[in-house]
Every structure is written in structure tokens, then in C-alpha cells.
Symmetry: C2
Subunit: 519 residues, 2 copies
Amino acid sequence: MAEWKNLDTLASFEELQKCGRVDLAAVMSGESGAERVKEYSVPMAEGLTYNYAAKAVDDETLSVLKKLAEEAQLSGKFEELYNGAVINTGEKRLVLHQLCRGQLGGDVIADGVNKRDFYVEQQKRIADFAGKVHRGEIVNEKGEKFTSVVQIGIGGSDLGPRAMYLALENWARVTGHLKMTAKFISNVDPDDAAAVLASTDVPHTIFILVSKSGTTLETLTNESFVKDALEKEGLDPAKHMIAVTSETSPLAKNAGYLDAFFMDDYIGGRYSSSSAVGGAVLSLAFGPEVFAEFLDGAHAEDELAKEKDPLKNPDMLDALIGVYERNVLGMEATAVLPYSQALSRFPAHLQQVDMESNGKSVNRFGEPLDYVTGPVIFGEPGTNGQHSFYQLLHQGTNIIPLQFVGFRKSQIGSTSQQKLCANVAAQIVAFACGKKDENRNKNFEGGRPSSIIIGEQLTPASLGALLAHFENKIMFQGFLWNVNSFDQEGVQLGKVLAKRVLAHNTDGALKEYSDLLDI
Amino acid sequence: MAEWKNLDTLASFEELQKCGRVDLAAVMSGESGAERVKEYSVPMAEGLTYNYAAKAVDDETLSVLKKLAEEAQLSGKFEELYNGAVINTGEKRLVLHQLCRGQLGGDVIADGVNKRDFYVEQQKRIADFAGKVHRGEIVNEKGEKFTSVVQIGIGGSDLGPRAMYLALENWARVTGHLKMTAKFISNVDPDDAAAVLASTDVPHTIFILVSKSGTTLETLTNESFVKDALEKEGLDPAKHMIAVTSETSPLAKNAGYLDAFFMDDYIGGRYSSSSAVGGAVLSLAFGPEVFAEFLDGAHAEDELAKEKDPLKNPDMLDALIGVYERNVLGMEATAVLPYSQALSRFPAHLQQVDMESNGKSVNRFGEPLDYVTGPVIFGEPGTNGQHSFYQLLHQGTNIIPLQFVGFRKSQIGSTSQQKLCANVAAQIVAFACGKKDENRNKNFEGGRPSSIIIGEQLTPASLGALLAHFENKIMFQGFLWNVNSFDQEGVQLGKVLAKRVLAHNTDGALKEYSDLLDI
């Protein structure tokens, strides 16, 4: 059994604080810089590479980070997790998103069920359903084929699947895999649902209602909005909707839906892109075989994450360097900067996965922590950002570590991909090395750390590996900080108070705000 | 003439550091909380209200902030700016975006031209052009009406106009003002342009090429991509494109475009939504009278910003409180959280305006600063965020100030707006007051400051006021930090290095990265 200890009780963490600081601008200049780019590189799955030459680490730091990985028992904890231990201690739950993608360890039996079998069964049921829709065996009331799909969900039921869909939409269009276009309704803002419906061919659309409990306020609000719209067009909602939910929810075995596909409590919303939550919409949009490739890519990365040596384990290494930057170098935020428009919502998804997982002030035993945990995560794609907020990243008063992502080939095979790649290469060096100028306003100090994940092309498989990389990185950081990365008590209080407002059961400031907002 | 001094040389800043800290959870509880919500409120233009009850300030802090506003001569500096002083010292330029919206002071004559007349003339020319397109007097080669518009631009030519368009698209659809749908191509990623074109009715589309110099790499790359697409459909690009550019650029008076509308060097990209850069696309999409309402709303807020007393000047007050949080309370980021799906890209736009303006380490004279300047800005709309990264905002180890925006009525007039408003009211109180729980994992410390801008409905006029509020806030913060908020030297180095990469003129780390990326 792994021992769960706070980061600041580990001898190797103390040693880490004493490591000499690396002068990034110096080591990244000249021949030494070229050497680092060649050396500080780890293969990931599906042809991706994690390159950390421009991080403020050297062989000494790396050797202490390796000790830290051992002392914090990162591999042992991961092993316990994928073998079915109750890692989510707050909610007393297993943590099984990796199991959707493949068997990493022994059989995991929970609630009397082999969970791998359960996930695979849902994948098969979804594949069958999608196949029937694509072949025109399941059709609308006029006997016409469904051509688009709209997912109604919120939080993890929205951000992840949406980011994955957008990442592959263009690829699918070019490669002939775009079977149905997908859209997403997530905000309780009625203007959101209205805008999506206004641009949707409603009679030829399947709506996917995603709610684990079947009781999520926002999702049910949007569902009634959609049902009204269907009825107004003279359509029967029951012939247009499927549910993704838990087996015990009111949405399961409910005649109001064409079919229902199941998830369970062992996969948190933000980790659910690999489950039926992502599976239904992605299989309908691109075909089940594409979703299977995505899962295979994620599984291959998960397998890599089992490696004990962090220098051969890109997910663990990324986690360790991040903790060094956060807890030793004192950096408070991380920017995620994909040089790929297809990854436009990937940073927003990571923002959720990371900040909801590790934005905690107590350890897994509920004891207050004396060190900082999860950073602010933000980002936008590629060259857009470099014409805007990069100003602060280059010349602002705080240093923000950067995570670049880039691909050698565009999804459509255009030549201007060269320019995109030239930009990301240039930025890494500009941030690391800077450039002296006598005009201080044009002076770049450099010393601003970044890493880059480089791939051949953004495909279903490499997208799966990319997603798994970050999920695993966040998991390892949670282990290092000794927090429970799999609950989210911090989102509860707002929900409770919102119900009080709607029941007009308020006083003090809450009543005044309610009045101001005409509630 | 105003005196430009560093923040840390001001007596009132020293006094501010000595102010007693406000226990936000305590003062926001019970009757005192109710009183604060009523009292700590300032009217903005167009029916908006800036409420700062949940900020960690009290009457003492506010009185010192007022002294700071005076000592830093915020009003005097603004007056110099709108009367045409060379406020952008680095580039030796005037700063005139407010002048697009109305005359705030005396005539501004530059380059021998009355600049207000120049901006109004461009607005009229755009209005004429848009009217002809809408009435079918300017048509495509087959004599058919144009039905959509695609803007090609990057950075400020993209983020602002895109955010404004999205903010009003649904409103326009409901109120019958949606004359043409608009899309945007911005990323040099060829997959971006391809995806936009794939979902665009190209033969019925006007493309707007936006580039001040007419030489922006990304924009010209995207232009050739679009021209190729037009030619492949047998269409003449010159009959489908207009330019927004400077009068001296190669795009002006160029037979390759249907027409050209002009901007100048006195409006930075990130402040250009009010200029021809926003004017062309918004006038084509919604009609020139809607764009005029937007400008009127912005002008009304600009007028308010002239008020000397910060307690009656919401833009200045917001700026002062932000500097207090950043430089006295030591907070490093700010989250912008609109409870309105229509404002989905508004945080990304503010991210640019704020971080590019104030992410500086030297003062306006090029001297290094000993205090922090612009924070990281990030955000996502409403209830999506509260199901995701709010976890860290509520229970993370760092305190992040929050900027909420909410409206009493939805753009389509639905009843579920109540739920949206209930959520934002609940969140403000949850962040401020927290909730004690013996289970520390369910404990909320509170003390997390926020403000809210409340409006009746998001309309062209209130959107204009909202945008101007933040532009003015950022300007006042730049005055306080004594930085030049109107240049962006930090985005230059990357451009220079990217050109070297494309010319294969690299060595060291840059060459290695180029090789890794197959450039």
C-alpha cells in the first residue's frame, strides 16, 4: 500500500528547494541550447514527443525530481488507482476513466460487475446504435435519416466532448469520416439553447441528454427548452432523444428516449470524454471506429504512464516539472498554447480538468495544506495569442510557464503549416533566450520556461494520447500535492445558494443581489 | 500638463498599504452585507450598474483610493489623452479610440486632419456601402444578393469584432436585425480557414480583409487561401473582397477590392472594435444603425469616465480596486465571468485588451518597475465555469478576484433567465461569505472578492458601454502603473525569429526546434 504524505514532508522536496537555479537564457543559447533540445525529449504515444529543453531544469534538478517521484510513490499510487483502489476518498469511489480505454492492471470488480466489461459493453451498444443511425435503420418520424447531433450537458458532459469534437471535425471532413455534424448546448442561459437550435436542422437531429443523476438543473432546463422546440415543429421528443446517464437514474429505461447508454460513479465528469459521455456524440459524429482509435491512443499513453522512471514517462515528468515551477519557483499560472485551430477548446477543457481536480486547499485526509496546489490554467490557440496576450507573457512582471502543442502536418495538408511551425519554434526560443536591447521597452529578459508536445498530425489516435497525457499529468500532480483530485466539493455551495434564491428563501446580501437582478 | 510618476512614489499608495484589511466574509454577512450591496454601487451608462459590495474595500480604503486617483492625476491624464496628447510615447502616437464614438474634448487635429471628421466619414462610407449591399445594389457576379460576411484579420482585428458580433448575433436574430451572418478567419493555421470556408456559402459572401499595414503575414496567408477558394469556384476575388486598412497601405485604392475603408495609427488593434475594423463587419451584419447604437453606448460610458470622483466613475473605481488587489493584496489573476452565453468570447477579448496593454515591466520612460503590473486575465461564460474551474476559485490556495456580468432579461426573453440570475447572485455570496463545515473538505473560507456589472439586457448600446468600461478601466490602470498601455513591443521578437526560421537562417536551439518541426 502506498503511503500518502504531504509534499512538504518529503526529504526530496527539501532537496529540490536547494537545487541550483538554472539560468534558462544562458543554457538555451548557442551549442548548449541545441544539445538541450536534442537531449531533453521523451517519446509519447502515437508519435508525439514531449520536449522540455526550454524548462528551467538541468541534470541536477531532474535527478532530484526522479527521487521525488520515487519518494512520493507516484507509480505505486497509479498502480493502486488502475487496480481499483478507492482513490477518491472524499466520495469513497474508485477512479476508472483509464479503464474505458483498456486494461492497465488486474480485473476491477465493483458493485459485483467487471467494470472493463461494463465499459466495453456500453461502447458496443453505442457503436450498434450509431451504425443503425448511419445506415438509416434508425430514422426520424418521416423515415428520413438523421444528419446531425446535439449534446445537452454541462461541465464535464460538455467541455471535453466539445473540445474532442472540434479537434476532429475538420480532419473528419477531409478524410470522409464526418457522418453527422455535432453541436452542444450547455449553458443554462436560454440564449445559448436558442442560438444552437436556430442553426440546427431540428427534424433531422438526435439530441443526447447527458446527466449522470438525471437531475442536473441546467441540463433539464435545456432539455425542456429542446422538447418544446421539437413539439412546436410537430415532432415527438421521444423519437429524437437519447440519454447518457447512470443505470439507476430516472432517464434510464425511460420511454421518453430512443435509448439510454450508461456511465457510472467511477468516472468524474471532467474525465468522461472516454466514457459513454464522449462516446455517444463522437461515435455518432465520426463513426465508432474513429472513437475506438481515440481510445486506443489514450490507452497507449496510459501504458507509458506506468513507467517508473520519470525521464521515460512524459506524463509524470510534466507533472514533476510543474510542481517544481509552482512550489519551488513560485509561479502561479500555466498557459496552454496549441498551434492548431482544431484545438481551440482544448485549453478550456484542460482548464476544467486541472483546476477542478487540483484547486484544493486540504489534503486527501481533509487537513489544511501549507503549500500551494493547482495553478490557474488558461490559453488560446496559436498565432492568435501571439498577437494579443503574449505581450504579458514576454514582458509582464510575472513569469507564466507555457505549454505549447504543435503538429508538423495540418489536418488538411496545406503548406502554410510551415508558417505555423515557424511561429511556435520562434516563440519557444524568444521566451527562453530573450534579446537584450538598450531601449528597455524593447528589451526581452528571457528566462520564461516552456515545453512543447510535437506530433505528426492531429488525428483521433494522437488526440487520445494528448488528452491522456494531461489527465495523467494532473493525476500525478494530485499525488504530489497529496490532494484528492477526483472530488469537487468547491462547486457545491453555489448550487445550494442558487436553490435558496429560486425559492426566495434569502436574507442579507443574497436578498439584495436577488432584488437587483429582479429574481 | 499631468505628471507621470511611478505608483510606488505616490504618498497615497503608501497610505493604501497601511489601510486596515477588510474581513470580507464578516462584512458581507447579515445586515452589514445587505447595506453594502445597496451602498457600494455606481451607475454606468445604458442602465448598467457597477456593484462592488463584495470587494475587500471599506470606506477607509475607498477614501484613500480617491486620494490615489487625485495624486495620480487620472482625470487630467484622460483629458490629455482625449484632447490629442501623444500618450503612446513609445510609438509617438495619439490614442484616439474614444474619438470614434464621440467628441469628448476639443478638436483633435493630426496629420492636418480633424480626426473626429475622419472617423465619422469612414463610418458614413461604411454605412453607405452596407446599405447598398443590404438593398441589393451591390451584388455578386450573378447579380445575387450577398448573404454573409467573413472577416479575415488577426489579434485586435479578430478578437474584438468577433466578440461583439457573437454578443449581438442572437439579439439580432430575434429582433430582425440579422442582415448577414458573419464568420471570422484569424489563425494562420490553414485548418482554420478551411473549416470556415467549408461552412460558408462562398458565392454569396463578402470577405473583409483587415490589416493596417497591408503586410500582416497571417492575414495575407489567409487572404491567398480565400482567393484560391474563390477562383476555384470560378469567382472573381475583386468582386468579393473589401479592405479595412490605412490610407497609405497597398490595399488602399487597389483594384483587387470592391472598396476600402480606413483606419489610422492612433487606434491600436485591440481598441479597434469602434473603428472601421469593427464597423465594417458589424454594419454589414446588423445594419449601420445598430453599429451606431453600439458607438453611442460606448460614448455614454466614456463621458462617465470623465467624472473626477472615482465613487461616481465606475471605470476609474474598478481600475483603482484592481490595483489595490494586485499591488497591495498581492493577487495575480482576474477572472471575467459573464452570465450570458452571448458574451462567450468577451473574456478572450478582454484578455487581449488587458494583458497586451498592461503586461509591461518598464514605465512609460523605459525604466524598470519595482512593482507588479497587469494580471493574468481569463474567463468563460456563466454556469459552465461554475461546473468546472470554480472549484479552484472557491477552494484553491490562491485568491483570484472575480468580475461577474449579468443581465435581468435574456436576449430572447425566456424565463430560465431567472435561474441564470439566481446562480450569479448565489456565487457572489458563496465566494464572499463562504460556509464553515467541520469536514474541512466541505469548508469554504470565503473572503474571495468579486464585483458585478448588472444590466437590463445585452443590447448594442449596453454592449458598447460594457466594452468602453473595460477599455477605460485598463487605461486608468495603465496610468496608475505609469506604463504605456498602447504599445506592444513584447509581440515583436517572436515575429522576427519566425521570419528567420522561414528563411532557414537559424542556429542553436532554434535550428533544432525547426528540425523537430520539419520546417
